[in-house]
């Protein structure tokens, strides 16, 4: 009997940027730095995807200012992705952005066999809408709970509390219990990553789109409630990013 006509397929790995495009992002070149960081990270992401053919890396992006909109609405294979620059204007509808993503994390359209999605929230300020309602809707989705949720805070005005709410408090408690040494120092990816200049931002984006995507691509099972690992065992942050204030250039933002 010949092999049947079944659809064998690698597993989709959805990678979604949630980008703050409020007016403050125009200040001090933050928006320009973000566009550049994402664009520069793409070749590395393509390489990681190529090195892990069992995962099909699909990228999307949400921009939020007065409202939240899909900047890249179709899950796009990373090798086909062409980054169109985001523009800064308006306020910070972060809650609406989470609602928008939540609608895409129900199953369907999410595939049952997808790998845990990687979601990266980048913001320099405070939500101006009902963030809590957005987060609640978002976290009701099973795939949101399963996701690897990372947050990058741009500058000292970013609201670290809401970014931590997005990442989850359980995971930071776990990281603290384990001790920060294992994560390489004072900065853990279970907390918002604080970028105070374009270099640090580029390094975080690079790390999320390569090291984290690589880790999320690997078919490795884990025990339920693996206390210190979050939804995947996150790779360590490179040593230069452990303390961005000391390590990578001047404080600009």
């Amino acid at each position: 009997m010949p092999f049947p006509n079944v659809r064998l397929s690698n597993r989709p790995l959805h990678f979604i940027y949630l980008c703050d495009c409020s007016g403050s992002m125009a200040a001090q070149g933050k928006m320009q730095a973000l566009n550049q960081a994402i664009r520069q990270s793409l070749p590395g992401m393509v390489k990681v995807a190529g090195d892990n053919p069992e995962a099909r890396v699909l990228v999307r992006a949400v921009s939020f200012s007065d409202h939240a909109d899909w900047h890249i609405s179709e899950p796009t294979p990373v090798e086909d992705l062409q980054w169109v620059d985001l523009k800064a204007d308006g306020i910070t509808a972060m809650g609406e952005a989470l609602q928008l993503v939540a609608a895409q994390l129900s199953c369907p359209p999410m595939e049952e066999r997808a790998l845990p999605p990687v979601l990266v929230l980048i913001s320099d300020g405070q939500p101006t809408d009902d963030f809590e309602a957005g987060l609640n809707t978002f976290m009701e989705q099973r795939w949101a709970q399963k996701a690897v949720r990372l947050a990058i805070a741009l500058g000292h005005d970013a609201n670290l509390d809401v970014l931590q709410d997005f990442i989850g408090h359980e995971s930071v408690d776990r990281a603290q219990m384990q001790g920060s040494a294992q994560q390489g120092g004072s900065q853990s990816a279970r907390r918002p990553l604080q970028a105070s200049n374009a270099t640090a931002l580029a390094q975080y984006i690079e790390w999320a789109s390569t090291a984290v995507v690589g880790a999320a691509s690997m078919p490795v099972s884990r025990t339920k409630g693996s206390a210190t690992e979050g939804n995947i065992p996150l790779p360590d942050l490179p040593p230069t990013m452990i303390d961005p204030i000391d390590g990578v250039g001047p404080v600009v933002w």
Binding site: N5, R222, P233
Partner: protein, 294 residues
């Protein structure tokens, strides 16, 4: 109707092969007789979690299968299985055994065995100072016991059990997914595990027993690790694949490890999830399967 000797096979995943990681899956099958001479078949699969934290999970999965078969063999071998259909009270006794007594014994013996392995094996230099942790050996386990009048399964983790047999509604052989891990409350790629303290509770959730009635149509049971189902785009594909693998197994009469499945398993992992893949198949009666639609 009697069960044919079960077959089993594990194959390293395409991703693990490429990265130089050992296969963390293991599978095993056995045929024996009870004290009263009743033929019994057993099959088990286990999936070591892999990754840095579970770095001895290839050993954990091997020990899990070996201990599952050994402990089931011990209890069933000395148990008074009847040649005739068991009474409901007798069947209930076996149900309790596979739900409680067997898992208790399995977990206890597996924990001792992995601790013993830790004492004995030569650790690499970078692990010399590491204290023993049962987590290093973390793995899942699925076990199926097949007797002439009933079969049962137990275990924990993300294995799947498919039944392939005649369906009177569709008037055709049909594959059905009859036992899978419910992923409510599970995050990321997480699964229940032998290395966790709540293991016993999760055995109970997956334990089922079914009688085999006189005159029942032949059927097969396929037990697989998650790498197989996660390689398929949808459950319908997985079930078609299960049907096909059972049809291949039905040709092999001598049981045991089945290298004839290697080509198929390799295709599954290479075109699919890249994960290690294991299957174990038991067939009850002279099952005849039609073409699966190549």
């Amino acid at each position: 109707m009697n069960w044919q000797p079960p077959i089993h096979r594990s194959l390293i995943g395409a991703s693990h092969r490429r990265k130089g990681v050992v296969c963390q899956d293991y599978s095993l099958s056995a045929s024996l007789r009870s004290r009263s001479g009743v033929p019994i078949k057993l099959m088990a699969v286990s999936d070591g979690h892999g990754g840095a934290r579970y770095w001895r999970s290839d050993v954990g999965s091997r020990l899990a299968c070996e201990i599952a078969i050994k402990e089931a063999r011990k209890a069933l071998g000395r148990g008074l299985l009847n040649w005739s259909a068991p009474s409901s009270s007798n069947l209930l006794k076996w149900q309790q055994w596979q739900k409680q007594a067997l898992p208790e014994k399995l977990i206890e013996t597996w924990r001792l065995a992995v601790a013993d392995d830790w004492q004995r094996f030569e650790k690499p230099a970078e692990r010399q100072a590491e204290a023993f942790s049962v987590y290093s050996y973390g793995c899942t386990l699925g076990l199926v016991v097949m007797t002439p009048h009933w079969w049962c399964c137990t275990g924990l983790g993300d294995w799947d059990l498919v039944r392939v047999g005649w369906n009177s509604h569709s008037n055709a052989n049909k594959a059905e997914l009859i036992n899978r891990e419910e992923n409510v409350g599970l995050q990321g790629e997480s699964t229940f595990s032998l290395c966790k303290n709540d293991a016993l509770q999760h055995f109970a959730e997956r334990s089922t027993t079914e009688s085999i009635n006189r005159g029942q149509s032949p059927f097969a049971l396929l037990l697989s690790t998650d790498g197989v189902r996660k390689s398929c785009a949808a459950d319908t594909d997985f079930l078609t694949l299960a049907h096909y693998l059972v049809s291949k197994a039905s040709i092999k009469r001598d049981g045991g490890e089945c290298h004839e499945l290697d080509e198929d398993l390799d295709r599954i992992t290479t075109e699919g999830s890249g994960d290690d893949v294991s299957v174990a198949i038991g067939i009850n009666g002279p099952l005849k399967l039609e073409d699966t639609g190549a």
